[in-house]
């Protein structure tokens, strides 16, 4: 929410996921109902949506830079490059030097082999704490310590793409991405920023995050099913690897440099309920009340539903009146999986892509029905544990 009233445009999108790379590939795959691409074997019994192969050299030309990144940082730095290219600002060092950046990040990736070797050695050790010191002192790679810092995705983007106007890294799982979009939009609307690179990445192909989610009992352990169809069978999340960045820009700044809008963001709302029964839906209704005045023409609703039992049905209940009123509902997690920090920014990006390229994304299970091209797009995203956000986008 912001008091500012300047018009905010999306002028660049970079997105990579299990469905492909870039705006066109995603539009094509989502309209055709292609995929989903699911790896059922590598992390069995947990399915994941793996990232498509990336030609890293195209966006991260120095091998030395690539080596100092973990997979989530490569995915993110790559997607950031695509977004800057798409906005027509890549390589414009003077402009990038005053371009703001807000990154939604999680934690660094563990080296699964090192962790396994150490935890095994500690099991039978007489003095496990001293052994831990010895093992850590010899097994850890110093250079990769930096990759462990959450703000080093932003740091890498500064180094590789020269975005240096400002650099903030937000955390807190899904809430990180929600705050990132909300903050970028709010600052531009209020005149505190003219142009901002905002987004992040999630690597689903990592054991440490599978472990964290499994500790909470949140994971789907069966064959792939669309999010709406999981709840009846216990529910659960299938995580997906995604990198998504957007270039947000004030209309006046974009016009001055001759940039075209992909879509406009009319408003962003965030909440953080304690998740009693009905809390998330009540928050979403308040958010919708605040945004509904901006809806024009045909509406598509892009949901971040996770597939978690209870929460998913609650969201379905909240969305039903919108569907009954003629809006199309699409749970994009069925197509790209759930990417925690990046889910909300990725949904905003895909909604903008739909508004620009037209057509309608193919239904994937549940009550999703065929539809026509949208004029307005509502993004509704609830975190798997905390955080509720909604954004309204309009066709440019």
């Amino acid at each position: 929410m912001s008091a500012g009233d300047r018009s905010v445009w999306i002028t660049g999108i970079g997105i990579v996921s299990s469905l492909g790379e870039g705006q066109e590939a995603h539009h094509e795959a989502l309209v055709a109902g292609a995929g989903p691409n699911v790896d059922r074997e590598r992390f069995a019994p947990y399915p994941v949506h793996p990232i498509v192969p990336l030609e890293l050299d195209r966006q991260i030309p120095k091998k030395g830079d690539q080596r100092q990144m973990e997979p989530w940082q490569r995915i993110g730095t790559y997607a950031a490059g695509l977004a800057l290219e798409d906005a027509g600002v890549k390589g414009d060092e003077a402009l990038l030097d005053r371009t703001d950046m807000i990154v939604a990040a999680g934690g660094g990736e563990r080296d699964a082999e090192v962790d396994s070797a150490i935890v095994t050695a500690l099991r039978d050790a007489e003095d496990p704490e001293r052994l831990l010191n010895a093992k850590l002192s010899t097994e850890l790679r110093p250079t990769l310590f930096l990759a462990q810092l959450p703000n080093l995705l932003a740091g890498n983007i500064s180094i590789v793409h020269k975005v240096t106007g400002s650099s903030r890294t937000l955390m807190g799982e899904e809430a990180a991405g929600m705050s990132a979009i909300s903050s970028a939009h709010g600052r531009i609307a209020a005149g505190q920023s003219e142009i901002c690179l905002v987004g992040g990445s999630y690597n689903a192909e990592r054991w440490d995050m599978l472990l964290l989610l499994e500790l909470g009992g949140f994971q789907w352990r069966e064959d792939y099913a669309p999010v709406w169809e999981r709840a009846a069978h216990g529910g659960g999340v299938i995580t997906g690897s995604v990198g998504a960045f957007l270039v947000l820009e004030s209309e006046s700044h974009a016009r001055a440099r001759g940039a075209e809008p992909i879509a406009r963001i009319s408003g962003v709302q965030t909440d953080y309920t304690r998740r009693g029964p009905g809390d998330a839906a009540a928050a979403a209704r308040r958010q919708l009340d605040a945004l509904a005045g901006g809806i024009e023409g045909s509406l598509a609703v892009f949901s971040g539903a996770t597939g978690i039992a209870g929460l998913t049905e609650e969201e379905q209940g909240f969305l039903q009146p919108l569907a009954d009123g003629g809006g199309s509902v699409r749970a994009l997690g069925s197509a790209i999986g759930h990417g925690l920090e990046i889910q909300f920014p990725a949904l905003v990006a895909l909604a903008a892509i739909n508004l620009k390229h037209g057509g309608s994304f193919a239904p994937r299970g549940g009550n999703e029905r065929p539809a026509t091209a949208p004029d307005s797009a509502l993004v509704n995203c609830w975190g798997h544990w905390r955080g509720e956000a909604m954004a309204l986008l309009r066709k440019a």
């Binding site: 962790d115 099991r123 932003a154 500064s158 949140f218």
Partner: protein, 430 residues
């Protein structure tokens, strides 16, 4: 405090942002009173680490906060408790809202959160049979171990719990800009009030993450002082014999408020947040660009944002980590902006006494910067025995100094090219 004729807006027409509550905890103690007494007495909080064995490690010292219990220990557990102490003190001083009902959002800098070795070992102990314990085996026992570990080791957990305790409004924002994080939390709060999204916010930074792996990782980067004996002499910012920073724990919290809101409710105004400047460095993951341009840009941006000239800054609360690189680059940045005045201006580093509180540093040092102005006394840079002729500075060596200070700049620089400078003033601008 009279309200007659006062403008509540800055020269850009935005709300003036003031501080109405402060709280702090470091290895020197809990609460501003004890911290300030120790700090101005030139006392160090650095000591031998006893939380885990260190006899085979190169660095054996730190500013752990041992008087706050977090059992079982984990970084998010201790960080949350430290933040709770600091925020509790700040909110009580501000006397704002009602208990558990703070009338605005929270921005909090938190250290990296992930499962730690005690949790991994507990999971490993629950597996059956011999052989290597790999992640699939840990996962196989995970669901039965209950949900507490998931809740505790979510990145958002610290903010979530504190938001519930203090009843802050809206989505709490967790952030990290490495060692500039505390400054960024204040910056985000400042921007939020300026754009009219809130009248009051909590801005805090916390760090309770000294465990074996964190210490060893920084040690492998050769970032830490290895002069373990005596511990209190290890942190030597700006000295010729400086050899790295000393890891430390702590938390700092500010209640920020629009001047209008503070005056309307009759709150005591502790200082003004006049400006914030930021610039990222694209040179290297741990080193500043050799020409210092990003640091210089951040300092200039802060002055611009505050609408003041370099001559109007009385004192610098330095980042001053005591690494060879930081102190050299910080001096270069100051000299580029403050010119020949640099050598005469008091530039002191709290880290000489409290160590580097990492994620919390910007918030902790903001509290000390504001207190410096209120008390008219500048904390010293201790352990300054061997001046470095390459970086001639008045570091307020070893002994606190009485001085009228009306405006302070507080610097925070972090790995990943993060540079944040804050400017605080003693009185609300007219």
């Amino acid at each position: 405090m009279s309200t007659s004729g006062r403008s509540y807006r800055d020269r850009n027409g935005h709300p003036i942002v003031v501080v109405t509550g402060m709280g702090v905890v470091t290895s020197l103690g809990a609460g501003l009173h004890d911290n300030w007494a120790a700090l101005t007495a030139g006392r160090s909080g650095i000591h031998a680490i006893t939380r885990f064995p260190t006899d085979d490690l190169r660095t054996k010292i730190g500013g752990t906060v041992d008087f706050v219990t977090a059992e079982p220990f984990s970084a998010p557990e201790l960080s949350e408790r430290l933040a709770d102490l600091a925020i509790g003190e700040a909110v009580a001083q501000a006397a704002i809202g009602r208990k558990g009902d703070f009338p605005g959002p929270m921005f909090i800098a938190v250290p990296p959160v992930e499962l730690e070795w005690p949790q991994r070992r507990a999971l490993a102990a629950a597996t059956s049979g011999g052989g290597e314990i790999d992640y699939p085996r840990l996962l196989a026992v995970a669901r039965e171990k209950g949900t507490e570990l998931h809740r505790r080791f979510l990145f958002g957990s610290v903010a979530e719990h504190l938001a519930e305790t203090y009843g802050t409004k809206g989505m709490p924002v967790s952030l990290s800009t490495a060692c500039a994080s505390g400054g960024t939390a204040i910056q985000l709060g400042l921007e939020t009030i300026r754009r009219g999204d809130a009248d009051a916010v909590i801005a805090a930074g916390t760090d309770g993450s000294i465990h074996a792996e964190a210490l060893i990782r920084f040690s492998l980067l050769s970032a830490l002082s290895t002069q373990n004996d005596p511990p209190e002499a290890a942190a030597k910012p700006f000295s010729k014999n400086r050899d790295g920073f000393v890891m430390a724990e702590g938390a700092g919290a500010l209640v920020l408020e629009s001047l209008e809101h503070a005056v309307a409710r009759g709150a005591e105004i502790l200082g003004v947040v006049e400006g914030c400047g930021e610039h990222a460095d694209s040179f290297h993951r741990t080193r500043s660009s050799p020409d210092g341009h990003a640091i210089i840009a951040a300092i200039r941006a802060a002055l611009d944002d505050a609408g003041v000239s370099p001559d109007e800054v009385d004192h610098i609360n330095a980042h001053g980590t005591g690494t060879p690189e930081n102190d050299k680059m910080e001096h270069m940045g100051l000299e580029a902006v403050f010119g020949e005045r640099t050598a005469r201006m008091p530039v002191s580093s709290n880290k000489s006494m409290i160590g580097h509180t990492l994620t919390a540093a910007g918030a902790v040092e903001a509290v000390f910067s504001l207190t410096t102005m209120r008390e008219g006394r500048i904390p010293p840079t201790i352990n300054y025995e061997v001046p470095d002729p390459a970086i001639p500075l008045d570091v307020v060596p070893n002994v606190a100094r009485d001085a009228a200070v009306r405006r302070v700049m507080s610097n925070s620089f972090g790995f990943g090219g993060q540079n944040v400078c804050l400017i605080f003033a003693a009185e609300p601008a007219q």
